[in-house]
């Protein structure tokens, strides 16, 4: 590998890393981006515009496909038979769960990462999120407020293209939007029902191009978004940031390079990174003046915890002891599903050709008064339904024969279901550390999860189940059931907190620019800096905060804090 010293190394090429390398390359810096897995090639890796019957195992995939791999559990939704055989997801590196923890760590190792397959919901955070501690007395505020980040949300939205409407809700600040997705029959019915019980149902903020945007084509509604887009009609590093960075000629992109640690000099400052070449299994070092970690939330903490030196005996930049702590996630699960009798027997409608959350119930709890509910803060709910890819509602219908078959068709437009998105609260019991014994195939110590849902998020879960009982009644709908338990932690892919930012170096890993308090030339561009989760998703804010961090990096190059290579 090149013996040259780069201006910047960016570890990871997902939502954060891709954005960082684009902006830093465009500013004229020499950037070495290091990606854990292979390069994503949509024309080969996404089997799009296929039907399920074109797949040998009808979408289930070959059950023996991970025999012999270190991590054999398939990753639901994102990884499917549509991408099988392309080695996009991490199955070589295992992780461990402490006793009582059942964390489901989904990892896409190919360039672009999980942001190739993300859900595209892109709401802004507001002061109700940043200053939550002031409102309810729990935890700490973010070191950034809405006024400071709002221009960066605008930049992120303008770049990515987000479809929505102006809604004037203080808890959900409005942004700069493309035309919204049109509402389906189910959306109108849900909205009327929600209105009756005092719950908002509004267009989601959806990063999907309802018209051509910045040279990217409008969506053609093939419905395959979660398997990756074949034309780049929604924001993904593969179609947006990586081509932008490459166009500058300032980018060196290393693939199949699994970063093991950040290297430091005598004074404890970062000098580069060490990675394992997956092909040769040999360790390689790359040098740079500045290191940006954007390996996905918990992997960034993993690399830092494994970066032990005389200066940093418990991991780089960990004088606060907060590295790996405050692991949070969105509690996911279905608090209610059933069907809308209004639509029985109606002709099929193209409800899911956008494969997206057309509308949602943005947080409505604890708005007037931060303590109006038994829990603090709040959650959101996404609703799905209508004519889908498979008539899973058959399991609710009795019998067999022509009548059964007719009923499957009759109920086809009617099913609706909810997905709760409830933020966990930071807790001393929820963290990641390095497994003292287990090493992966490449000799790297494994990451270990310690995580349980807390009482606050479980109260939200119970609350949502009650709301769904009321909503289904108000819609004139029948409730078929609800999940007994929430999904396993990790399911949402919205982990946050393990390198939280803050003003006080004693209680946080980085400053408000996501620059390590202890190591001035180490920055973090992923959700690991977010100190507490919100009811909203993470990808668009990762892009916005990365844009702001990169501005600070460039400023520091200008001011001479960082020297060019």
């Amino acid at each position: 590998m090149p013996a040259k010293t780069f201006d910047v190394i960016v570890v990871g090429t997902g939502a954060g890393g891709g954005t960082a390398m684009k902006l830093l390359c465009e500013a004229g810096l020499s950037v070495c981006a290091i990606n854990s897995g292979p390069r994503t090639d949509p024309s080969k890796d996404y089997k799009l515009h296929r039907q399920v019957y074109d797949l040998k195992y009808r979408g289930y995939g070959n059950p023996m496909r991970f025999a012999g791999n270190a991590h054999q559990e398939p990753y639901s939704v994102e990884e499917s038979e549509y991408s099988e055989g392309r080695d996009l997801f991490e199955h070589d590196v295992a992780y461990s769960n402490a006793a009582g923890t059942d964390w489901y760590w989904k990892r896409c190792k190919a360039t672009g990462g999980k942001a190739n397959f993300w859900g595209r919901s892109s709401a802004r955070y507001g002061d109700i999120d940043f200053k939550a501690a002031d409102l309810d007395g729990f935890g700490q505020n973010w070191p950034v407020d809405y006024a400071e980040i709002a221009p960066w949300f605008s930049k992120a939205e303008r770049y990515m293209g987000v479809a929505s409407t102006v809604q004037n809700r203080p808890s959900n600040p409005d942004g700069e939007y493309l035309p919204p997705m049109p509402w389906r029959c189910i959306d109108y019915i849900i909205q009327k029902g929600a209105e009756k019980i005092g719950v908002p149902y509004l267009p989601d903020r959806c990063a999907q191009l309802t018209k051509a945007h910045n040279g990217h084509p409008a969506c053609h509604y093939c419905g395959n978004c979660s398997r990756g887009c074949d034309v780049g009609a929604f924001f993904s590093p593969t179609w947006f940031t990586i081509p932008d960075a490459e166009a500058t000629k300032n980018l060196t992109l290393l693939t199949n390079a699994l970063v093991r640690s950040v290297l430091v000099d005598e004074s404890g400052m970062a000098t580069g990174v060490a990675y394992v070449d997956r092909g040769t299994k040999r360790e390689v070092q790359v040098n740079a003046k500045v290191v940006v970690l954007a390996a996905s939330c918990v992997e960034t903490a993993h690399i830092m915890l494994n970066s032990k030196s005389r200066h940093w005996p418990t991991g780089i930049a960990n004088s606060s002891g907060q590295l790996g702590k405050n692991l949070c996630d969105h509690l996911y699960g279905c608090p209610g599903y059933g069907y809308l009798p209004q639509l029985l027997g109606q002709p099929a409608t193209p409800d899911n050709i956008a494969d997206s959350t057309v509308a949602w119930m943005p947080r409505w709890q604890n708005l007037k008064n931060p303590k109006e509910e038994k829990f603090i803060r709040g959650y959101s709910v996404y609703m799905g339904g209508g004519c889908g890819e498979f008539p899973g509602h058959y399991s609710q219908l009795e019998g067999f024969g022509s009548e059964f078959k007719r009923n499957i068709k009759r109920y086809y437009p009617t099913p609706v279901g909810a997905l709760i998105q409830a933020p966990s609260l930071p807790s001393a019991e929820n963290y990641v550390d390095i497994d003292p014994e287990k090493k992966d195939t490449f000799g790297i110590s494994q990451l270990r999860f310690h995580f349980q849902w807390g009482q606050n998020e479980l109260l939200m879960w119970e609350h949502a189940k009650q709301v769904m009982i009321d909503l289904f009644k108000a819609m004139g709908a029948e409730l078929w059931g609800m999940d007994d338990e929430p999904n396993r932690p990790g399911t949402s892919l919205h982990e946050t907190g393990v390198c939280r930012f803050g003003s006080d170096p004693k209680t946080s890993v980085t400053n408000k620019w996501a620059q390590a308090h202890d190591v001035a030339n180490l920055y973090i561009c992923d959700a690991s800096v977010f100190p507490s989760p919100t009811d909203k998703t993470t990808t668009m804010p990762i892009v916005a905060f990365t844009m702001r961090t990169c501005d600070h990096v460039l400023d520091n190059f200008k001011k001479g804090v960082h020297k060019r290579a």
Binding site: E73, C185, Y221, A348, N352, C387, F400, I408
Partner: protein
């Protein structure tokens, strides 16, 4: 993989290409037998090469016949094709032989889980078919396939409808539920099944997303009764 792996892969490859080109309106009997009218020439060529009667990978010929018959009872041909025409029995045989967790009772988290659950499904199918025969012998004095259509129907009804459940038939009910799961999955993952629903995703390019056609009736309480008006299919389906 089973003995027909290579042919099947080839056929599927052609089907994949053909359906992308939009020139493949349907196929008959999943990957094994193809109806002449509908099929791309390349598919036909391969299909003819393997046009011999289907040789089950997992079931005995007799078991296979019974699976095919049960599947057709669950999803019969009526105004749209049934399970038999859609190759559901071949699907079940393939999935059971290859231990694909179609109706698994827990998550598959490792290859070992897949093997265990796959073996369990194989055992449940074998013992379930035996149970059906034992039941039909005790009820009607002959094996299931020798029973009349009415007798077969009554044997399934006591497994399918809560009102007809009997305390002694629990293992039969479990088998029926699994058989129904495999049949429904096998049918509604074929073009026949998806077309019978009017699955909108069969068309893969839309100029825009059509919204709700009745926004002036947001609660949808005044929709026309099904069948009252003939609704035109979306035009230009790919």
């Amino acid at each position: 993989m089973g003995g027909q792996g290579i042919e099947r892969r080839e056929i599927l490859r052609y089907i994949g290409i053909a359906s992308i080109a939009g020139t493949f309106p349907g196929f008959n009997k999943w990957a094994f037998a193809c109806s002449q009218n509908h099929v791309h020439e390349a598919v036909l060529a391969v299909a003819h090469a393997s046009a011999a009667p289907y040789k089950p990978l997992f079931f005995t010929p007799h078991q296979f016949q019974m699976v095919e018959h049960l599947a057709e009872m669950i999803i019969p041909a009526d105004d749209t094709p049934g399970a038999k025409e859609a190759g559901v029995a071949e699907f079940i045989d393939f999935m059971v032989a290859n231990r694909v967790p179609v109706s698994a009772r827990r998550d598959v988290r490792s290859t070992q889980d897949a093997i265990e659950l796959g073996n369990e499904a194989q055992n449940r199918f074998r013992s379930g078919l035996d149970w059906m025969n034992a039941r039909s012998k005790s009820e009607f004095g002959k094996e299931f396939m020798e029973c009349t259509g009415e007798q077969q129907k009554s044997l399934l009804e006591e497994l399918a409808y809560k009102a007809k459940f009997k305390p002694t038939t629990e293992s039969g009910r479990q088998f029926f539920q699994m058989m129904r799961d495999y049949t429904v999955v096998g049918y509604y993952t074929t073009r026949f099944g998806l077309e019978s629903l009017g699955y909108p995703g069969l068309r893969v390019v839309w100029p825009s997303m059509p919204g709700c056609p009745h926004p002036n009736d947001p609660e949808h309480v005044h929709l026309q009764a099904p069948g009252a008006t003939k609704v035109a299919a979306p035009s230009g389906a790919a």
